[in-house]
Each structure stands twice: as C-alpha cells, then as structure tokens.
C-alpha cells in the first residue's frame, strides 16, 4: 500500500519540477516551496484553528465541574464528569440510539437511492421532471421536513397516514410517539435518499459503455452484467455515499427536535448523541457534563472515522489503478 502511495505522490511532483530546475540555490528553492504552499495556507490554518480550539476547550471543561446555575461551581474535578456521563443509562442508550438511527437511515436510503438511480438512468419520457421531483426532499430545510411530517403525515385526526390506515379499519395512531424511532428514521430516509441517488447516479453515468456492450456481445444477461461489471464499478460510489451519509446523519438534530424531542419508548427512544448533549446543556445547565459527553462522542467518532478513512484510502488505490 505504501508503495502505491509513494508512486502516486511522486507523479505530480515530478511533473511540476523538471530535473533541470532543481539545481538552484537552496534559498530560492525554499522560496519556491513556500510559493507553492501559500495558496494552501489560509484554508489549512483556518481549519486547524476552527477544529482544534473548540476541542481543546471541550477537554478543559470536561475536567471541571461547572453548572451555570450554581455560582462558584467551576473548579477542577478530574474525571468525575466522565464517570457521571458513562454511568448515565441515558447516555448509554443515546449511543445505541445513535448507531441504530444512523445505520438504518444510511442503509435504507442507500438501497432506495440505488434503486432509483438505476431506474432514472434509463431513457424515458419525462426523465428530467422525475429527477427534479426526486432530488427535492434533499433541498428542503430539515426543520421544515420535521414540521411537514409532524403535521401533514403523522398528524393525528387530519394526517395523511391516519387517513390511509383508516381504509383498513385502523383508528388513530400517534405515530411520532408510538413509533418514535421508525418515524424519525422514515423522515431521514426520505431526506437522504436523493443524496444517495445522486452519488450512485454519477457512478452509473461514468460507467464505460464499451465494457457493457462487450458483456452484451458475450451473451451476459442484465443480471450477470450488473453483478460482474456495474457493481464493482459502483462499489466506490456506494462506499462514498455510505461514508458521507453517515457523517451527516450521525449528527441529526432538527428532525428529532421537532418530531419527538428525543422521546418515545421508555422516554428516550430517539435521544441520539446530538440530542443528549442538547438536553444536558439546555435543560440541565450542566456544561461540564455536556463537555464530557462531547469528548466521549469525539473519541468514539474518531475510532470509527479511522476505519472509514482506511476504507477510503483503499478506494483511492482502486481509483488510481483504473
């Protein structure tokens, strides 16, 4: 793997600096390196400051005890906030909820998005209109989505879902509280299906027609062609969709805030990490617990992210191989 990286690294560098230009004085060489680096600097420095400062301060607060309602409570307490958070059953439930919610929303929207991408990759009448309709859910403000589903879809008495189940003789259902987690997941799937569809569609449109035609000549049927040619090509796009989708969906907040306020089930069935931290800070005014929860969430996310990045650098090699 490191070999592949090294060659890839050399290629562009050699292109920019032919051997003849390398024999210059060291100072002008250094200047050239800096000229090359200059355009990168604003973005790099900005990202370092914006990401590292808040997280260092989070770490600082997580070792202190600070309740904004208790004067003089801001002092060093070591790991006590961490043990409070880790022994809080609600926090542990939030971890489970976050995983359940993210995984089911990401997987379902990818399945639906891939199917739709395959469907609209054909030529048919009104394809442009269909695509326009399909991408719209992704463009709607998530808070508006939450309100929209709360009132017109899940709403009691006058909601569409109640109207539909009434055909089957089923009475009113309080969807967002009885089926809290599925209700939120359904909204997330609705929202993220277009995102997945667009990524897979880009993959389908970049497929080489020659390979597909060759398969047709060789007598492969549609299913065989898909399994042996389309899918390996699409895999990269699907993995990218899963990764980007997870990054965003794991931080879901607006939809929960509107639809369930973290409730359902035993009272916290839809409290994910984001909503848990919100509750700690907003309702309990306990900044230290919020900070400690934040540190734990960051560590957990980074562990998962390391695996995800590995996966992605695997993707890189595939991209360079072709």
């Amino acid at each position: 793997m490191s070999d592949a990286l090294a060659t890839a690294q050399q290629l562009p560098a050699d292109r920019g600096a032919p051997a003849s230009r390398r024999q210059r004085s060291p100072s002008s060489e250094r200047r050239k390196v800096w000229v090359r680096r200059l355009p990168l600097m604003p973005a790099l420095i900005y990202m370092i400051v914006v990401t590292q400062v808040p997280f260092l301060v989070t770490l600082w607060y997580s070792f202190r005890s600070w309740n904004s309602l208790v004067p003089g409570s801001n002092k060093f307490v070591g790991f006590s906030s961490f043990s409070t958070v880790l022994s809080d059953p609600m926090f542990r439930q939030a971890a489970v909820v976050t995983v359940e919610m993210t995984a089911s929303a990401v997987i379902l929207s990818m399945l639906l998005g891939t199917s739709l991408a395959i469907l609209i990759n054909r030529k048919f009448r009104g394809r442009g209109i269909v695509r326009t309709m399909l991408i719209t859910p992704f463009l709607v403000i998530p808070v508006a989505t939450g309100l929209l589903f709360q009132t017109t879809i899940y709403g009691s008495y006058f909601g569409i879902l109640d109207w539909i189940v009434s055909w089957f003789g089923i009475g009113q259902v309080t969807w967002a509280s009885t089926y809290a987690l599925p209700s939120v997941v359904a909204v997330l799937v609705w929202e993220w299906t277009p995102f997945m569809m667009l990524i897979v569609l880009a993959g389908l449109q970049s497929e080489s027609l020659e390979a597909l035609e060759a398969a047709g000549v060789d007598g492969a049927n549609a299913f065989q062609t898909f399994v042996s040619i389309s899918f390996p090509h699409l895999r990269r796009y699907i993995e990218l969709g899963l990764l980007l989708g997870s990054i965003y969906i794991v931080q879901t907040f607006g939809e929960i805030f509107i639809l369930t306020q973290g409730g359902g089930g035993n009272g916290n069935a839809t409290t994910n990490f984001a909503y848990y931290i919100y509750k700690q800070v907003e309702n309990a005014d306990n900044y230290s617990l919020g900070a400690a929860a934040g540190v734990i969430v960051v560590i957990a996310t980074e562990i998962i992210a390391v695996f995800a990045l590995r996966l992605l650098s695997g993707l890189f090699q595939v991209a360079e191989g072709t």
Binding site: P39, F55, L139, I141
Partner: protein, 291 residues
C-alpha cells in the same frame, strides 16, 4: 439497462414486444415512486395556498379555493424576532458570507493540492476529510462560551465562522476533483507558451472550472441554509430561517396553512437553486469519484 446497441438484431426483434412492455412498466414504477417521494413537498405547497379552515379536514381535501392570505399573513406578521423577512435576511447574509469565505480559501487550497501539489499533499487532503468527520455538535459548550467571550452571541458572524469550517473540507475535496479533470496537456501547453501562474489560473483553469465551482457552491449553500443546531444555540432570538420555522413546533401544528406558507417561503431559495443546478449536483456530490 444493460441491453445496448451490441445485442443481436434478430433476437431483439423477437423479444421486442416484451421489452417494450417491460420498459413501460419500469417507467410507470419510476413515476409512481417519484410522485410518492415528492408528495410531502407538493402537499406543503398546496396547503400553503389554503385557508386555515381547509387545511385540516378529514379526509384531506383538494377541493378548495386557492388564496394568498396565509402568505401575506406570514410576511406581514413581525413578532419580536422580526418575523420571516428578518429570518430570510439573516439566512441570506450567513449563506452568502460563508460561500464567499469557503470559495476564497477552498479554491486556492485545492489548486495547491492538485495542479502544483505541495509535498505531503495526501496527508493534507486526509486532514481535511478527518475534520469533516468531527462531530461539531459535541463541542457546543466551548463554542458557546467562546462566542460569549468574543461578544459574538446572537451575531450572524459566529455562524459564518462555523459554517465556513463545516463546508471548507468538502469544498477543497470537490474543487480538487474538478481540477484533476482538466486535461494536463492543456496546462502544459499553456506553460510552454510561457504563461505565468496568474494567466494559467484566469485564462485556462477558471473557465473550465466554473461548472465545478457552481456545484461546490450549491452543496455549500444547501448545508449552510438548512443548518439548525448551531443557529438555535448561538442566535436564539435573532435566528436564521430554520430557527424561525422551529417556532411553529410550539403550536403543536394548529396552524397548518400558516406553517406551510412559512416553510414554503423559507425553502424556496434552496429548492430553486437545486432545481436549476441539478446537473452539477450529480457531478459534484460524487467528489469526482475520488480522483
């Protein structure tokens, strides 16, 4: 899907009718699915044109006389937060300022990682991606405290600073992948002609890159305009469009028509932008397939 020109003519003729019927079947399925997914948005817009009394009926009705009452009600009602005109104004400012900052820093950075790459460009690229994976939500406490100390609470600039950080990594990745699509011969011939960096940038790269920049800008606008968590925490009484809309949650959905009118107005700019630039959206989101 896989059947293209290469198929044997004779076989195609025999299977023609079946193929034709199957084609129409899948087209119908596609239309039905698209309609189901689009329906909630359609219903929101329809409800926005209803009188409040028509908005909740059992069963839901399409038999009503369209009215603009709720739209004018929403636009003219300025509560203590300044109502919807103020919210849209804040959203517009935050989105435009964020977009300018993201592009101003993102495009040069992408250039330094693609066209004339710096040493260890791969590490830098992965640093950007790693920052995208940080759950910023987890850092709300210190962000809140820092914003308070800097006197930036309830100020749109605090959102601009944060949103720039959220969107910059993705922008660098996207612009970089678009830059890699530019044929190398084109850049080399420009260099042989003696073009300096500036000419190379403005005459060669920028014109080809414009659709890519449009795609990046669109993604950035969507995520900025729609962000809620930080807007809620940091600009409570002076909020952007999503914060304004969240105020309707307290009404327990009693004012469906008014809510729908407000939501329609708030979502309109991003929906319009997305519809206009949907081709770019397809290319942009795939990050150039990780080149």
């Amino acid at each position: 899907m896989a059947k293209t020109k290469g198929v044997d003519r004779r076989r195609r003729h025999k299977r023609g009718t079946r193929q034709w019927a199957l084609g129409h079947f899948w087209t119908a399925v596609t239309w039905i699915l698209a309609f189901i997914l689009f329906f909630p948005v359609l219903w929101m817009v329809i409800t926005a044109f209803k009188h409040e009394s028509n908005a909740y009926t059992d069963p839901p009705t399409l038999n009503f006389r369209p009215t603009l009452t709720e739209f004018s009600q929403v636009i003219n009602s300025t509560s203590f937060t300044g109502g919807i005109p103020k919210a849209l104004e804040d959203s517009l400012f935050v989105t435009v300022a964020t977009l300018i900052l993201v592009l101003a820093m993102g495009i040069p950075a992408a250039y330094a990682l693609a066209v004339r790459p710096v040493k260890r460009w791969r590490d830098v690229l992965f640093f950007f991606l790693a920052t995208k994976m940080l759950p910023f939500v987890a850092a709300i406490v210190p962000i809140y405290v820092i914003a308070t100390h800097l006197g930036l609470l309830n100020n749109d600039w605090v959102l601009v600073i944060l949103y720039t950080g959220f969107n910059l990594p993705l922008a660098v990745w996207m612009v970089r992948s678009f830059l890699l699509e530019i044929p190398r011969e084109l850049l080399e011939s420009a260099r042989i002609d003696g073009a300096g960096v500036f000419v190379e940038l403005t005459r060669v790269i920028l014109p080809i890159l414009l659709p890519g920049i449009a795609a990046t800008a669109l993604i950035c606008v969507i995520f900025t305009w729609n962000e809620f968590f930080f807007a809620l925490f940091l600009t409570n009484t002076n909020g952007t469009a999503p914060v304004f809309l969240s105020g309707f949650q307290l009404n327990e959905g009693q004012y469906w028509a008014e809510l729908s009118a407000a939501a329609t107005l708030c979502c309109l700019p991003v929906i319009a932008a997305g519809w206009i630039a949907q081709k770019q959206l397809v290319r942009g989101l795939s990050l150039g397939a990780l080149k």
